[in-house]
Symmetry: none
Subunit: 194 residues, 4 copies
Amino acid sequence: MKGSNTKDQIIAEASKLFLDEGYEMISMRKIATKVGCSPTNLYRHFQNKEDILLVLLERGYSVFLSYIQQAIDQNKELEFRIKLKQALKSYVNFGLENKEYYQLMFIRNFEHFDRVVIGESDRMKGFNLLANLIQEGMEKGLVKGDIEVISQSLWGLIHGITSLLITFKNSFHWTNEQSLIDFHVDTYLKGLLK
Amino acid sequence: MKGSNTKDQIIAEASKLFLDEGYEMISMRKIATKVGCSPTNLYRHFQNKEDILLVLLERGYSVFLSYIQQAIDQNKELEFRIKLKQALKSYVNFGLENKEYYQLMFIRNFEHFDRVVIGESDRMKGFNLLANLIQEGMEKGLVKGDIEVISQSLWGLIHGITSLLITFKNSFHWTNEQSLIDFHVDTYLKGLLK
Amino acid sequence: MKGSNTKDQIIAEASKLFLDEGYEMISMRKIATKVGCSPTNLYRHFQNKEDILLVLLERGYSVFLSYIQQAIDQNKELEFRIKLKQALKSYVNFGLENKEYYQLMFIRNFEHFDRVVIGESDRMKGFNLLANLIQEGMEKGLVKGDIEVISQSLWGLIHGITSLLITFKNSFHWTNEQSLIDFHVDTYLKGLLK
Amino acid sequence: MKGSNTKDQIIAEASKLFLDEGYEMISMRKIATKVGCSPTNLYRHFQNKEDILLVLLERGYSVFLSYIQQAIDQNKELEFRIKLKQALKSYVNFGLENKEYYQLMFIRNFEHFDRVVIGESDRMKGFNLLANLIQEGMEKGLVKGDIEVISQSLWGLIHGITSLLITFKNSFHWTNEQSLIDFHVDTYLKGLLK
DNA sequence: GATGAATGAGATTTCATTCAT
DNA sequence: CATGAATGAAATCTCATTCAT
């Protein structure tokens, strides 16, 4: 397989630590300790601490894209409402199954890091897939309104439930996750679709 | 006239800095520089850095509660749908008009700080006001379903749009804020209410 | 009475704190807190922290002298051995009854403070009283040897037991204090005197 | 060859500084300056300032034990009085030849540091060697009395002269050290032994 | 006789990072 | 591929002390 074992380990430990305690609270030494190597060694695999984050973000974007892509591909032939619902649910599931990534990508904002560029990322591609879906719905006469407004509202819808479930996972008595998500999306779509 | 001017200045500058760069990135020195006093002097007014955050959180909770309370009081006699919509909008408006507070209260999670207790806070009281409203709607037969599921879904709805508008305020081409929020809430309520 | 009440309180609290935690560990703020006044106020009564110590030392010397003087005066007419024993015991008793003073005077060494001068102090007068006693014993033919050697050895004898009882008062299982001191002095005097 | 040179240097400089100015007065920066390295580097070799002290104490206890052990071993076959005298003198000599250690071990009291545990230390083993010697004397009928009282008195005897010679080494006109110690011990033993 | 506001200096400690090996 | 030794910068925080009132 390609990629050194150590590098993957670093990524794995760093992403967990970043989620649990926050990027700024995690020192290179803490990562090294978890991995079981020397701090110096981290620099053999990454230019610096920011670089670890960037690699994490890129991986996250890529996984995110694959979630959305897969949902769309698998339901291509189905009814629009179902297709849309599945796409939205796959967004939420990406977040819940990849909390570390989701937090770094959508809850925190690292755009003050010069090297974090969003426009060109797979993240944007994921959005565009959703937007295309809305576009399709509008062409079919199933959705009405400004496509930008609708897209942004939809993002708000699914980001809200995803981010709350991640950020306050331990400090709130949540009802059953999947029922909640189903209700959440269904209710909104009932209002959105003809 | 009484009440130290410096203390208020510290709070004001700290909350801005915390929003822009994140709590961890802000040092006591940076705050002191902005305020125009010595770092030592901060410790006259606050026990430590965490204490500044706690005061900010408390103020935020209090302002939050007043937003929700006011929305409910002012629309007491109106139709349920309007009352609910106004309450939801006042949540979003609280966030957009108090970005620093909203970020600290709902986007970040400081519950690992021992002294941050949520259950007893005004934040919880704000939630309960919303929950009571749902309860009222259920009693009137206008809303159906599990009250917990509905409340949590509603929170996700409004938190999503609020937090995105705050976190990515500079890195995304948002449509007109108020139209977006209106569409967001209206669409969902169309699905939720009879 | 002369002397402000606050000044005496400061001295009382400071000496206790200095004994328990050590001069360096005690801050002006801690003293002020114990006394129940503002740190600034301490400077109305003492030039600075060192000054508090100096006043304590002076008081300690003075009390020390009175202990020794009294022992000698009260036993002037008695047999030499008893006179000497009482003087030695009064040294130990001074220490045990004034642990704070004893520690500052004889266990710590503050001579690196310019203003601490020993030669001229009451401490030296106390020593001289003991030395005079030895002198008397030699003239009576009851003690033989170099007076300096004898004085210094005697000081070591009583300082040893006193300082151990103070320094390790909580961390050692001491036998009955007075029996120990009696045995200590008696054994030595049996060897010293004819 | 192995074993960092820097670590030994730190220990050497720190112990001298601690003796001269007191543990609390010595900052990590001062130690680093003396050693000729950066303050940060001290933390490569010791967890923190307290840790330096603990290492010093441990080394001190170990050297102390070896002094006492050696004195006893070397005089095993000699007359009891000589054996005891040599043991007592080796205690004093340990102090005078290792003033830094002696001060930290016997003059200061660091038992408020959690990690300083005395019961299990080599210091206690040293004491026990002396106590065993007394026991032997009692069995031979050469010493009479309560063994605890005698041990504690003996400790006071030798601690007194040792600590005075260390604490006031520069501020008192001492007679010849070895004659003083000989006289001190001889006089006491004359009273103690049959 | 007392205090609140303020400060410069310095304490311990941790950080990301580099360099020689 | 890896590490031990080292560092400059900066973090939080406490200190003794002063000044205006």
